[in-house]
Symmetry: C2
């Protein structure tokens, strides 16, 4: 592992590219290898044991790129797979739960989490937040349809707005901060902020990218900025429109898509 070793990132699909966007904003000099398990997306409706098996397989695939750091850019895979992958890997492995939880606590002690059903079932956010501050109260909301809407490219239309209103309807009055506990959900920020401009919305990517930046010491961080920082985009299934949608999640033109088998 050297300064120029890549950061490896994986997600169930391409929603995790919102995390890559944040990483590239914080560290444009780093090389990133991203793996989206698009042949088996979504993870958020599946069981703990299946999600763990998929996370282990994705990480094993990325090991061949000899990364200096592995990021699980999927809240559901972080909820179920982080501890397992930490035990298996000698390099640092980071999920997207802790950084967003830590940032949310700087704003409020009454926090809601909008996530997939599997992430809500895992209870990872309440556990993580309460381990950081026993006085916090946490309200969890499963919003499973938002993943399909994000992958469908329905980011800001009246039907998506109705569905967001439906999911936010039961939010307790005491809540003033909401964690977007799924890496797909930042694409709905324009709608969410329109519905509830009074709330603080926390996404996972930006706080994680800031923590990664601190973590990478001078010895393992690449020299800023090289002439050829690269981004590789691996997927397990390539359907039509994937490159266009990947570019939207990434906030820039995506590199050519490389199809691999897991």
């Amino acid at each position: 592992m050297t300064m120029s070793s890549p950061i490896a990132v994986f997600d169930s699909g391409i929603g995790g590219l919102t995390v890559v966007q944040a990483l590239r904003q914080q560290m444009p000099e780093e090389t990133i290898v991203y793996l989206g398990d698009t042949a088996r997306v979504p993870y958020g409706t599946k069981s703990a044991s299946t999600i763990q098996r998929y996370a282990i397989q994705a990480a094993e695939k990325l090991a061949s790129y000899k990364p200096k750091l592995l990021i699980i850019a999927c809240n559901t895979a972080s909820a179920y797979g982080l501890e397992i992958l930490k035990r298996r890997w000698s390099i640092p492995v980071l999920g997207v739960i802790e950084a967003s939880a830590r940032l949310a606590l700087t704003h409020s002690h009454s926090i809601a989490v909008l996530a997939t059903r599997a992430t809500v079932t895992s209870d990872i956010y309440p556990q993580t937040l309460k381990a950081m501050n026993t006085a916090v109260s946490v309200h969890s909301m499963a919003a499973p349809l938002l993943v399909s809407l994000a992958e469908e490219g329905w980011w800001d239309n009246s039907i998506t707005e109705d569905i967001c209103r439906y999911y936010l309807a039961d939010l307790p009055a005491s809540v003033n901060t909401v964690i977007l506990g799924c890496t797909h959900f930042p694409v709905f920020l324009p709608i969410l902020e329109r519905i509830r401009p009074d709330l603080k919305w926390i996404d996972s990517g930006t706080p994680l990218a800031k923590e990664v930046r601190k973590l990478l010491s001078n010895t393992t961080r690449s020299q800023a900025p090289t002439s050829h920082p690269t981004l590789r985009l691996l997927v397990t299934d390539e359907s039509t429109k994937l490159h266009e949608l990947a570019s939207r999640f990434l906030g820039e033109s995506a590199p050519p898509i490389e199809l691999i088998n897991i």
Copy 2:
């Protein structure tokens, strides 16, 4: 293979249980083994080669039950996997495309198809309908969000109705018959018939079940009705609420769910 050999049925998830419901109505005496590939659902957003690989693996799994007949209860897997599986298997293999196409043609020569994106991309319905009648005109509509809504249990609410209205908005005035080209979609019939009571809606399950009934000769049909016709329900992932939702798709209380690996 004997009279008491089961009928094997597979689908990407549990939507194909609408086909099983139709089979059990037509042939209550038959034993059915159903496999739902819930660990990799949905298929309808994925590519041809991935869908083919999954269909082959599902069929191989079902081979161990020594069925007398294999039914692909998924329009997307039928579109891409039927010919491959027919070549590999010595028993009859049936998809859900032909029976629904044949029934639709008895009603109209101006037909629309509501299906997943992968099924629309395959062009299987226009090809099949035109092979049966060159004078037919076919309008294809991809309705990818309906699969998530069906699996989420949102079968009849105002948001689902809005989404159905959205997908039906561009229906040409000449169309008077619509094929529900996805085995999940019959659950939306109350909404669809409310929006367009003037149209004839064709689902895949009932016409297929009638064709299967004819196909099974006296020698391979079970004697009607045995005291113990059984239904086995195998899945590759068991998430919460699966049994409840399976019972809704099946129209009766589902048997205990058996978890298997593919």
